[in-house]
Amino acid sequence: MRLEMGHIYIKDIQFASESKIEDGILYVSEEAVKAVALEDEKIKSVSLDIAKPGESVRITPVKDVIEPRVKVEGRGGIFPGVIAKVDTVGEGKTYALKGMAVVTAGKIVGFQEGIIDMTGPGADYTPFSKTLNLVMVCEPVDGIKQHDYEAAVRFAGFRVATYIGELARELTPDETKVYETCTIKEGMEKYPDLPRVAYVQMLQSQGLLHDTYVYGVDAKKIVPTILSPTEVMDGAIVSGNCVSACDKNPTYVHLNNPVVHDLFEQHGKTLNFVCHIITNENVYLADKMRSSDWTAKLCKMLDLDGVIVSQEGFGNPDTDLIMNCKKIEAEGVKTVIITDEYAGRDGKSQSLADADPAADAVVTGGNANQVIILPKLDKVIGTLDYVTKIAGASEETLREDGSLEVELQVLTGATNETGFNKLSAR
């Protein structure tokens, strides 16, 4: 599959009477965006705001972060099975608006979380302090169930991102990158001497606010399968989770999956990037055994030499991670796993809830229990009401001077387990 990614760099976002992109500036009509968000009757109101890197702004509670994209050539559309009709994506031509994101916020449950600070110490940890953010805070109609509200905010974010992405359809990209993978046979013939490598991605799949969707399918209900690595660039995988925001993959991370991109960097040079294998992290133990058996089986059937396995979340997924690692290694396929750690505030506890000697090559996104003081910022988009209830926070979180004492857990994307950041630990 061959996908041409056209990058359009966004230098600024401004509200205007008409939505358009001109000279790298995204002009947004509030009215038009609101209309798109309010297409769903479950959303009562939406307020829009713009947060720029370096501003004294805190966004919370963040639900999802999405990079606007538009499919300009080839099969299907962005977010297949969710926004676009179901069709296999990952080939042709896609444009992405770089340097910006659509951020959805809204209180779905009372202990909701996810903080993006645009400045200060928190900004060093969340990757979304570096993007120009169009933030939409969605209020639901009265009496709505949490499930319905979650779905409504999720879809509203994708609709708005798609609307923004469409503005780029007729533009000329600032930069173009080509991502191309071979079929199995082609790859073997073309790169007979290169190690065959795949990416095994574990998807959060446990329940409300703990779900992920693949072409619109709830990832709990999938068995491990194979994607072309370019499919995620068109939104084949989207996020439905945000609890314990530090190590959950917002849709932005799926679209820009760093393992996919860094394996492509080496494709044809030092390795042959064969495919992207996805699996889940269900609650039911028999599901874990089946899924890990299958990932190992797929690795074997594809004659892989090595894989990178990425995790999403804590605790329950530690068991999937170790099962995957152990079984894949047992097939003679070498693994590197990416995780993050919960080593306690003092860093002295066992970092993972499972372990095995086979996991001898680990990359870590850092200790999520590390305490950080977030100073009071001038403006809050969303509400601080819930900050005190988020994972890694408590009623005592808000200190007298208005600063927050929290664990890294609360910062969106801070200890991402796809290797999105530079944070690590030893």
Binding site: V109, G110, F111, Q146, H147, Q204, S205, Q206, G207, L208, L209, H210, K220, N241, V243, S244, K248, N282, V283, Y284, L285, A286, D287, K288, G313, F314, G315, N316, D318, T319, Y342, A343, G344, R345, S349, Q350, A353, D354, N369, T388, K389, A391, G392, S394, E395, E396
Partner: protein
Amino acid sequence: MNGYMIITNNPMVRDKLGETHNVVYQEISYEDILKDVRDRIHEGHTLLSHPLSGSVKPNETPYKSIMVSEKKGAVDAQGLAIIENAIQACGKFVFRSDKYKPEVYGDFQLIDLTLIESGITSADTQMWSEH
């Protein structure tokens, strides 16, 4: 009834599932639920759902529901390792389950309910030997 039972301290699980499922409800802590399940595994029950389901950590949410088999057999060594690791993990997180505003507890209960329901959905389509 279904071949499995749900050990829980979540009143919402008791109320929603109690009539159709074998629910063992006890007013004990999150950690004590894990220990109760550990004891049952020692007695020969098989662990069916992951004790650290969900991303809200032990000591952050007060609620936990776990599925074990109704039948007893040989000790489930893997389940035992998982539950022991889970109990150990409790110590890592600062206790704040009692520090939330009252309205939040219903949401914690709901999340725990959806987590265990996802396990039930799996279990009810897989009536094989483990339970």
